[in-house]
Symmetry: C2
Subunit: 105 residues, 2 copies
DNA sequence: TTGACAGGCAACCAAAAGGTTGCATATTGT
DNA sequence: ACAATATGCAACCTTTTGGTTGCCTGTCAA
C-alpha cells in the first residue's frame, strides 16, 4: 500500500498510467515516445516502480516487454482510504466552520 | 493535485490524517504525542505539507493551533483519478489475461 | 511581571529519488 | 551470420525529502 502511494506521488508515473489506460499493452519504447525529454532508462525506472507497486503488470513478448495497467491497487485506495474519509467529509467541514466561528469571538 | 499526491506519499502524514479523522481539531503537541520517536519540528513540517496540499486547515486559538481535516482533496482524487480508472478495470484485466495466454503460445 | 508552555524559523545533515551516461544482453529480420 | 532493435544493469550525479538541533516569539497563568 505504501508502495502504491509512493508510486502515485510522481507526475510522470501518473502520466504513464494515464497513457496505459488510453492504450493498454504498450512497450517501453512506445511509452518513451510520449514522455518527451526523458531518457529510456528514466522511463524504465518509473515503470519498474509501478510494477513493484503492482500498478502495472508486464509480459515479455520476444524482445519486447508489454506493459499492462492493473487498476486494482488504485481501486483499493478508493475502497480503504477514500471511503473512510468520505463518511467524515461533512462532519469535518462542520467542525472547521464551528472552529472558525469560535476563533472570531 | 500534485501536492496532494506528494503529501499522501508519506506514511507518517497519512497517519496524521487518520489521527485527525479520529479526533478533529487537535493541536500540534497532541499530534506529536501519537507520533512517537519524532521531534515536534518534524511533525510540524509534515503538517505544513498537509496544509499546503489543502488536506488540513488550521485555526489559531490563542497560543495553540488547531488542525482540522479537510477531506475534499482526497474526495477529488477519488472523483477525477480513481473514477476514470474504475471504468477500465475489467477491460485492463481482460487485456492482461489475453496477453498472458498469447505469451504462452 | 515572570516563568512556563505552544509554536515558528533557520541552518544543517543523511538518505532517498529522479535522472544521466555507458555498456551488456537477447531477439529479430535479412 | 550479422546488423539492427529492444531492453537490462550498474555507476554516478544532483536535488529533494525527512529529520535533527538550537534559538526566537507569542501567550497564558500565578
Amino acid at each position: 500500500m505504501d508502495a502504491v502511494f509512493k508510486a502515485l506521488a510522481d507526475a510522470s508515473r501518473r502520466d504513464l498510467l494515464d497513457r496505459l489506460r488510453a492504450e493498454n499493452g504498450q512497450t517501453l519504447n512506445q511509452l518513451c515516445a510520449g514522455l518527451a525529454g526523458m531518457t529510456r532508462q528514466a522511463v524504465s525506472k518509473h515503470l519498474a516502480l509501478l510494477e513493484q507497486a503492482n500498478l502495472v503488470a508486464t509480459v515479455k513478448r520476444g524482445r519486447e516487454k508489454l506493459h499492462y495497467l492493473n487498476p486494482v491497487p488504485i481501486h483499493e485506495i478508493g475502497e480503504r482510504w477514500i471511503g473512510k474519509f468520505e463518511c467524515s467529509r461533512l462532519q469535518a467541514l462542520s467542525d472547521l466552520k464551528k472552529a472558525l466561528e469560535a476563533g472570531e469571538s
